[in-house]
Point group: C2
Chain length 260, copies 2
DNA sequence: CGCCCCAATCCATCATGGTGAATTGCTGCG
DNA sequence: CGCAGCAATTCACCATGATGGATTGGGGCG
């Protein structure tokens, strides 16, 4: 029974790069054909019946249905029954276009440095939102995360510190009423964490002074948010994003670990 | 022949809100079931054969295949033939998670003000990248877009001015080597333009002074990029993002038109 | 003129059976 | 022990036929 295959076999659980190299599946190819046909017409134009389009794609009924399901999910066509029914070209909404363009990004082209840079640009917005919208509950929750950071700092546990750090940032992000901003930011955190931990697990002992000063910076940030001290908060987030380099001699660890 | 149905019938070409209210399709429901099963296990764990999972979902073979195609496209499962084969839980890559979370955003919750705010936060990054990477070709292209802006300003054509304005920004964005940044930014432009033109077409005559000063601001920005004058460029983009309000009395038009 | 009913069109889902490809594991041979 | 071949397992795609639901348009009636 292969249900106990080792979970650490990366090829098993990490999705293969799109389309087994050039061996693209037939439904996927047909879905692209449908999308191309839709793109060549105006939104709302009728493309034809399912059977006409299926013949155009040159696949069987079942395969075409799979392709159509994909195309519908991508928002490129809509389908209607009845006389004059069939497939109609559809315009993807801007949100769908954004989602699809992000999906089309290759993991290789999304470097962690790029992600960090984006995250840094978005941090001030989140701090502004937190200053404006943080409830008592939010502040309590931030304090809980701070305690986790503090505990990790006391135990000099680098991985735990990173997790707690990110949990704090995610919690701050959760305060924002801007759904787009939250979504982007949280996923950027996710991407950064994923990349860092997959590339270079934090094995070494983190520097005590560095980790303490990062903790204190975050604590001050939470206090500034609590006190609604806008200038201080923005100053701190700026410092946060520009003082990643550790003041001590060992640059290797801190350069590799984009701390929050 | 209904191939000539009026293209302006919005219900025809704008995708319906997800899932015809509560009437979710069966393949979509099965795909969610598959995703839930995958989420409940570790990445790499075997979920079972197609037929076992199909029985679990309670659908026919064809419907299950459609669902499976969706689930695979979403990166939640991978499929293998052979003894011990079948469906395996997969971990969505961070990029896929971001794409899916964006797709899950409701258009209503993505307000144009939110989008503008994000765009403004990302503008300085793009300007930095343009300063660093702009080729002669890029500069020529920016100049071409500037000419379009100038022509629109001379003719006092508000819509054309907006289009040219956005085309210039998109061209500046295209210089960046940061694929994520380009993707986000371009889609934000798309979203903003789409929203503004759908909500309030620009019918009124734009103010000559306002439109001229916006043009000149952009011209100065392009020159600063050309001269690689970092301080000047960043100063201009800051001015760009903080001086949208027209200096003249008619605030209605300019408030409604988030100009580039 | 408006509404209802019906017929025609087209789709969503179901069911069944088939071929060929890919994968895994075991056995036999050198 | 390593490699090749083979059998079994499982999937990808194909083909066909059926039922019920949704939609559109036309005709008839009040």
């Amino acid at each position: 029974m292969v249900a106990d295959a080792p979970a650490l076999r990366r090829a098993d659980w990490e999705p293969r790069p799109a389309g087994r190299s050039s061996a693209q599946t037939r439904p996927e190819r047909a879905a692209e054909r449908i999308a191309a046909l839709a793109a060549a017409t105006e939104p709302g134009d009728r493309l034809g019946t399912k059977d006409e389009l299926r013949a155009e794609c040159g696949v069987s009924v079942g395969t075409f249905n799979e392709a159509l399901r994909l195309a519908q999910a991508r928002g490129v066509v809509t389908v209607r029954p009845g006389p004059g029914g069939g497939l109609f070209a559809s315009r993807q909404s801007p949100m769908v276009r954004l989602g699809n363009s992000v999906l089309a990004l290759d993991e290789d082209t999304a470097s962690v440095a790029d992600a960090i840079r984006l995250r840094d640009a978005l941090d001030p917005l989140l701090v502004e939102d937190a200053l404006q919208h943080a409830s008592r509950l939010d502040i309590t929750a931030m304090r809980v995360e701070l305690q986790q950071m503090h505990a990790a700092a006391e135990e000099l546990d680098g991985t735990a510190f990173i997790h707690a750090n990110w949990a704090l940032h995610a919690r701050i992000a959760a305060i924002s009423p801007n759904a787009m901003l939250r979504s982007f930011y949280t996923s950027l955190l996710d991407l950064i964490e994923s990349h860092v931990l997959s590339v270079q697990p934090v094995d070494g002992q983190p520097l005590p002074d560095y980790i303490r000063s990062r903790y204190e910076l975050h604590a001050a940030l939470v206090e500034a948010i609590t006190e609604k001290d806008s200038d201080r908060a923005l100053e701190l987030i700026h410092e946060h994003n520009t003082t990643m380099a550790t003041p001590s001699a060992d640059e290797d660890l801190s350069a590799a670990v984009p701390s929050g």
